[in-house]
């Protein structure tokens, strides 16, 4: 029976019931484990894991830090751990690319206080520019990976991962797929441990990794992993590894052993039930998916007497890779299936799992079916919010500098569809790739411009700015400064001027001054609220050779609207239908979501969505959109 639901994420009452997202359940585990430091660079789908812990009214507020990028965040967490504290580092899968350099060394140096890295993966690329299988990093960093299967496990396993980290001397990675990160379920709380009080740092030889020391540490790391991979739980107390969680097993004698992990275990079991095939397959799901415990895996093979092993996992086939190698080393003759059935790309859902198993087990006739849809849903791209300064910017860019531009795109809100840029890959791709393109074109091709957001500039872009300034890269770089890391829910950047607690940040970075300090000779500013002003700046720079930067600064409209506004007069925009020629420039070119078409096919403005940025009035060639002032009923912000 479930206890009464609590709404207090930070409750210290064990056994309380909470409703949490997958990401927040993992955070609760870190809170219970006594994490003294939580670091992140904001990234979907795990941003909520940080946000709940950083609640300014909560006990962890001062212990949660947004860090300039994941590389620095990882190092900061490692340093805290080396001084004895428990620490949680939160990042998305592509963020771990950035942190991978220190992650490799952390296996060599080891840790002192428990260190856990919460990674949000994104099979299906629903909230990311890619869907890399981040688990594969463990094959060369040798950091153990845990994959929880449900909300309670996300909490329990994150808490347990701190113990495992300390008993192995290694940072532990928890991987949560995006759909689970955002989903919700109930959890029962455990006891909350206080963070370590006084900490100290002691010099240790193993922290300096050069020459023979590095080789010795590498050997030690491999030995640690082999011990984990072969741990049978029957060793003496002195050899016991704390925090090891039992694998999930539904072992019966069957021709087929399904090996899966994380959220897919329940789906596999349910799919077998639907196919009336529960007796035809054994199921094994390691909790620690790197190193996969081979003692447990081979005992599942022996107990089931299976003739084939089927791997059900998303993306690249990471369990299949580890297990196939172990099967070969052992000299077993057994059929291996998996990535030939379940594709290594895209999200793995119930439909794919049950179809694959049905074909394999000869139960296709029992496949459930849904409606035979004759009308197919049309792809729906995301777009800029009403009032977004990026919408005006890209409108001006296309109108003023023309369609022949080469536009380097970058991560963040400015990357939203319709993807005005010519490329969009990782953080700092905008000006960096543009540097190479402009070098190759040597001034003979179309004008090269690039875009980068303020948060991305701080994250990793500044090195490119230095490079471009020093080499006088022939490009105009637009710094799209909306004052926040808006894409992930408005976390402050070093340039925001406010901290997480809302206090004024006296050390806020002046972006224009920073650019000049990097050696940029031409630094201009423009306000995207004025398309005309933007156009004038673009025209001025169009004929200039060499490297120029334009700081296009206007706060994210969503954030600006959250502040109190006592002005009783509100600005509204309206379409004067007698003047409207239905040219559709506002509807089809500007594509502001606040503009819709009425029954006669004429554009109208939805006041409940419009934030009165005025961009539509500026783009209307017929003067059909007018500004009106209205007095709000409440005399202030609505």
């Amino acid at each position: 029976m479930l206890n009464a639901l609590s709404s207090d994420f930070f409750t210290t009452e064990p056994g309380s019931s909470l409703i949490l997202s997958g990401a927040a359940a993992s955070s609760r585990g870190a809170y219970e484990a006594g994490a003294g430091l939580v670091v992140t660079y904001p990234g979907s789908p795990v941003v909520e894991a940080f946000d709940v812990l950083a609640d300014q009214a909560g006990p962890m507020a001062g212990r949660c830090h947004i860090v300039v990028n994941e590389h620095v965040a990882f190092h900061k967490a490692l340093g805290y751990s080396l001084a004895g504290g428990r620490t949680l580092a939160i990042m998305k899968h592509v963020g771990f690319n950035v942190a991978s350099d220190p992650a490799h060394y952390s296996g060599y140096t080891g840790i002192v206080g428990g260190m856990v890295i919460l990674l949000g993966s994104d099979p299906g690329a629903n909230c990311s520019t890619s869907e890399f299988d981040c688990r594969l990093y463990s094959l060369h960093t040798h950091l153990p990976v845990i994959e929880p299967g449900d909300f309670q496990e996300a909490l329990d396993m994150t808490r347990g991962a701190f113990d495992l980290s300390e008993s192995t001397g290694l940072p532990i990675i928890i991987v949560l797929p995006s759909r689970f990160c955002y989903g919700m379920g109930t959890v029962r709380t455990g006891r909350v441990k206080e963070p370590v009080g006084e900490m100290s740092f002691s010099r240790r030889e193993e922290l300096t990794n050069v020459g023979p020391r590095a080789v010795a540490r590498h050997r030690l790391l491999i030995e640690k992993i082999e011990r984990l991979a072969n741990y049978d739980g029957k060793t003496s107390a002195a050899d016991e590894i704390n925090g090891i969680m039992p694998d999930r097993r539904l072992i019966r004698r069957a021709e087929t052993l399904v090996v899966t992990s994380g959220i897919y275990f329940d789906m596999v079991v349910e799919a077998l039930k639907v196919l009336n095939a529960s007796a035809d397959a054994a199921v094994f799901a390691p909790v620690l998916t790197y190193p996969m415990n081979m003692t447990s895996f081979f005992s599942a093979i022996e107990e089931s007497s299976c003739g084939r092993v089927v791997f059900v996992e998303d993306l690249e086939g990471y369990l299949q890779l580890q297990a196939s190698s172990a099967i070969a080393r052992r000299g077993l003759s057994i059929e291996i299936r998996g990535k030939d059935i379940f594709p290594p790309w895209g999200a793995l859902d119930f439909s794919l799992i049950i179809r694959g198993l049905a074909e394999l087990l000869g139960r296709v006739e029992l496949l459930p079916s849904g409606l035979d849809a004759k009308r197919k849903a049309v792809h729906r791209e995301g777009t800029f919010c009403p009032g977004c300064p990026h919408r005006s910017f890209f409108f001006a860019l296309n109108q003023v500098l023309g369609p022949d531009l080469v536009i380097g795109g970058d991560i963040g809100c400015s990357s939203l569809p319709p993807h005005f840029s010519d490329w969009l890959t990782c953080m700092n791709s905008g000006p960096s790739i543009a540097a190479g393109v402009s070098l190759a074109l040597d001034g003979k091709g179309p004008r090269v411009v690039s875009c980068i957001g303020d948060s991305t500039l701080f994250h990793g872009g500044i090195q490119t700015i230095i490079e471009c300034a020093q080499t006088d890269s022939d490009q105009i770089c637009f710094i799209l400064d909306n004052s926040w890391t808006a894409m992930t829910g408005h976390q402050p950047t070093p340039g925001t001027g406010r901290g997480l607690d809302g206090r004024v940040n006296e050390s806020a970075v002046d972006i224009a001054a920073l650019l000049r300090a990097c050696g940029v000779k031409r630094v201009l500013k423009a306000d995207p609220a004025s398309i005309r002003q933007l156009g004038a700046v673009m025209n001025r720079l169009a004929g200039e050779k060499g490297f120029s930067c334009v700081v296009v600064a206007r706060e994210c409209r969503l954030q600006a609207r959250r502040r109190p506004d006592d002005n009783p007069w509100k600005t509204r925009f309206a379409v004067v239908s007698q003047r409207c020629r239905a040219c559709d420039r506002c509807y089809s070119v500007l594509t502001c979501p606040a503009i819709f078409k009425d029954d006669e096919g004429k554009p109208r403005i939805d006041d409940s969505l419009c934030v009165a940025c005025g961009a539509c009035r500026q783009v209307c060639p017929n003067g059909a959109i007018v500004q009106v002032k209205v007095k709000s009923r409440e005399g202030g912000k609505e």
Partner: protein, 191 residues
Amino acid sequence: MIRNLVVVGIGGQGVHFVSTLLRKALGARYGRFTGYDERGGAQRYGPVASVIRFEDSGPEKPGGVMGIDFPDGSADWALGLEASELLRFDHKFSSDTIIVCDSVVVPPTNVRRVDGGYFSADEIERHYRALGCRVDMRDFTGLAERMSGNRLNANLLALGVLLGKMDGALEISDFAGLLDERRLALIGACL
């Protein structure tokens, strides 16, 4: 018995708000529920969906395994805060699925740019009726504006209609501690 509910809409419409309300009510009543969310389009006018699974037998009769996703054709209910987004989940629906949706249809910006045609509310309603589903499509947005002066309250009105079709699996009293009187009244308005 495991029951499956899908809530769909576009980013900015309140799918997260409505699905969180439903989950809180389910948590208080049944204890156990699960599901997943697709929120890549949240705040960006892209597709957003919540899948909610629960056992209406309640915590005294805990059932078997319940993964975050569910078999095709097994949705008991679907709530569409934007009608055309339902089409993405047709494979999860059967002729037994009860569909409640707002008649508002928002063409994607990729359709707007090329002046492409898009589904009308009538077309979508006919599509589901032809397939035998029980559909309740109403102009909740317009109704909310008339009733409360706020279009965003369409979500609560639609939720009320859904509750009326859940055969008591959830009732308005399950939301009593979750919302103020004014919002509860809006849920009750269409119940």
